[in-house]
């Protein structure tokens, strides 16, 4: 009798928690917290984030220096936040607004997510990419797999459909979007700590597939590797000596950690 009562309580709790989580589509659960990660709520109250916390629209997540965090939305969209990052959860399905810092997003196929940063909005129904903003200096979007639409709401025609391997850098005060350039998917996947410091993404194989595809196109001459590299955040382009060739798939796989 006693055990039945316990089962009922536990069952009710699970049902309430999952039901609440499912009902609030714009809510997310913290699945990884490292170093100083804090919530900034509607009432201007700061509190330390911890694993399993549910975050809903209107709450901002602040990652301190050296901090990392990951949250998963109701529609299974994954958001990984780098150091010195401020991300707001907004209304709508897995809605996010990046005020500052670096965000890796993984939107499962069939899910719908809108991410904004300054004047730029990104929508997708299946993609993995990285969004970075640094104050009023720049916004950077990189796509590893899938497809995203990058646009400036209210500006007629300012819309770009980005493909895997494209990078777009614009100003947070932009009223028009520039053309996207291309980057080496495998090298980013190998060196990005928002990938390597976490458990493998569900889209890891899709990223490897795109890297292999890009490698094939490179060997056919459709892409020409340049000696221009942006090392991490920012827009500083460095000139580097040419590197020996390595297949994209090898690069991605060698970097993947086993599933935890």
């Amino acid at each position: 009798m006693k055990s039945r009562a316990w089962f009922s309580i536990v069952g009710l709790s699970v049902a309430l928690t999952t039901g609440l989580f499912a009902a609030q589509e714009n809510a997310a659960r913290m699945t990884y917290v490292s170093k100083e990660v804090r919530f900034h709520g509607r009432q201007n109250v700061l509190r330390q984030a911890s694993l399993g916390d549910i975050v809903s629209a209107g709450v901002a997540i602040h990652n301190g220096a050296k901090a990392r965090s990951e949250l998963i939305f109701g529609n299974r969209t994954v958001a990984r936040l780098g150091a010195n990052t401020i991300l707001n959860l907004t209304d709508g399905s897995a809605g996010m607004n990046l005020h500052e810092g670096a965000l890796l997003f993984q939107i499962p196929k069939g899910s719908s997510t809108e991410i904004t940063s300054g004047p730029v909005a990104i929508t997708s129904k299946g993609a993995t990419g990285i969004l970075e903003r640094y104050r009023d200096f720049y916004i950077k979007v990189m796509l590893l797999e899938g497809e995203v639409r990058v646009f400036i709401p209210g500006q007629i025609g300012e819309s770009i459909l980005m493909e895997p391997g494209q990078i777009l850098i614009t100003s947070p005060k932009a009223t028009a979007l520039p053309e996207a350039a291309d980057f080496d998917i495998a090298r980013v996947a190998r060196t990005c700590r928002l990938i390597s410091d976490f458990s493998p993404l569900a889209s890891q194989e899709l990223i490897a597939l795109e890297a292999r595809k890009q490698m094939r196109l490179t060997s056919k001459g459709n892409y020409i590797p340049s000696n221009l590299v942006i090392f991490g955040r920012g827009t500083l382009v460095s000139l580097v000596p040419p590197q020996p060739k390595e297949t994209g798939a090898q690069k991605v796989r060698s970097n993947s950690k086993p599933t935890q």
């Binding site: 990078i167 777009l168 221009l228 590299v229 920012g234």
Partner: protein, 320 residues
């Protein structure tokens, strides 16, 4: 990059206007050719390849220091090899309602016409900004009620196009144009014209989606048979285009054209307005709504006319 790209100024934007006076016996044959020439011009597709620079997404040299660089990884920039496709082939099937089938001043008759066209062009790149242009177009004009007006138009062009990216992408063209008009039954020729065409187009891009363009076209005929419809055309135009979505674009073009005839003292001035909406279903398939309105004034009143053409069509274009 997009040398073969046709700008979508719309069907009939190069409307040229001359009226026909059947009562003037000495010019009867010439007028028939002239009418057909005008109708062909009013309804023909205008093919204007446009080229534009592709600004880089990377702000070269602009550096902003920021912490925690390793988060994003190393972004090695790849250069996309430019794939230039010099050949293009297209087929279109426009259908129009026209308010003035014979381009007459009075006694106007309306009709519906079907104007299918096929074209093939080759635009080899000579230097980064200089291209050769070779092309042929065959178009048929088939009327519903006035089948006696049916005719076909064949054009062959050869020329050069020069682009000046440093000056708003100004494009300059010099072409030779051979035009032959025939009937549609036996393809018997009733008019042939040889002309030089010189043109300049200056686009002003407004953001990603909008563009204003101004330009001039000069067509200098150096031989025609019969000689009476032979003329030189001088026109100035201004156009506006907007991409409302990735697939839907709207275009409006206004043009003023002066036509100076070699025989007699006839000079015409035409005002033409062309409006079109294009919906691109795929890279190679486009549906269009097309319209053009023209008003012609001549120093011989008998050649005055006005006409409206409204219609739509589908176009297939492949590049290779």
């Amino acid at each position: 990059m997009c040398s073969g790209k046709f700008n979508k100024l719309g069907w009939g934007t190069i409307c040229m206007s001359v009226a026909v006076a059947l009562a003037m016996c000495p010019f009867a044959l010439a007028q028939t050719a002239d009418q057909s020439q005008n109708r062909a011009d009013l309804l023909r597709t205008q093919a204007n390849p446009t080229y534009g620079p592709t600004p880089s997404g990377v702000e070269g040299g602009y550096a902003v220091a920021s912490p925690n660089d390793k988060d994003l990884g190393e972004q090695q920039i790849l250069k996309r090899a430019e794939e230039y496709q010099p050949f293009s082939a297209s087929a279109s099937t426009p259908v129009f309602y026209t308010s003035n089938v014979a381009l007459t001043r009075s006694g106007e008759e309306d009709d519906v016409l079907f104007a299918p066209a096929v074209s093939f062009s080759y635009q080899p790149r000579i230097t980064k900004t200089l291209y050769a242009e070779l092309g042929v177009t065959q178009q048929f004009f088939v009327y519903d009620r006035f089948s006696e007006l049916n005719f076909a138009s064949f054009d062959a062009i050869a020329g050069l196009a020069y682009y000046m990216p440093q000056f708003h992408n100004l494009s300059l063209r010099a072409r030779y144009d051979y035009n032959r008009l025939t009937d549609t039954d036996n393809f018997d020729e009733f008019f042939v014209n040889h002309a030089y065409i010189l043109s300049a187009n200056l686009p002003f891009r407004i953001g990603r989606a909008q563009q204003i363009a101004v330009g001039i076209d000069t067509e200098l005929s150096f031989y025609s048979h019969p000689n009476a419809p032979r003329r030189n055309d001088y026109s100035f135009y201004g156009g506006y285009s907007v991409n409302l979505t990735r697939s839907l674009s709207l275009d409006a073009t206004g043009r003023i054209a002066v036509r100076d005839y070699h025989v007699g003292d006839r000079t015409d001035v035409s005002e033409i307005l062309a409006l079109s909406a294009n919906y691109r279903i795929s890279e190679w398939f486009t549906l269009s709504f097309l319209s053009s309105f023209a008003w012609n004034q001549s120093n011989h009143d008998v050649f005055d006319y006005s006409v409206a053409n409204v219609g739509g069509g589908a176009a297939l274009t492949i590049r290779f």
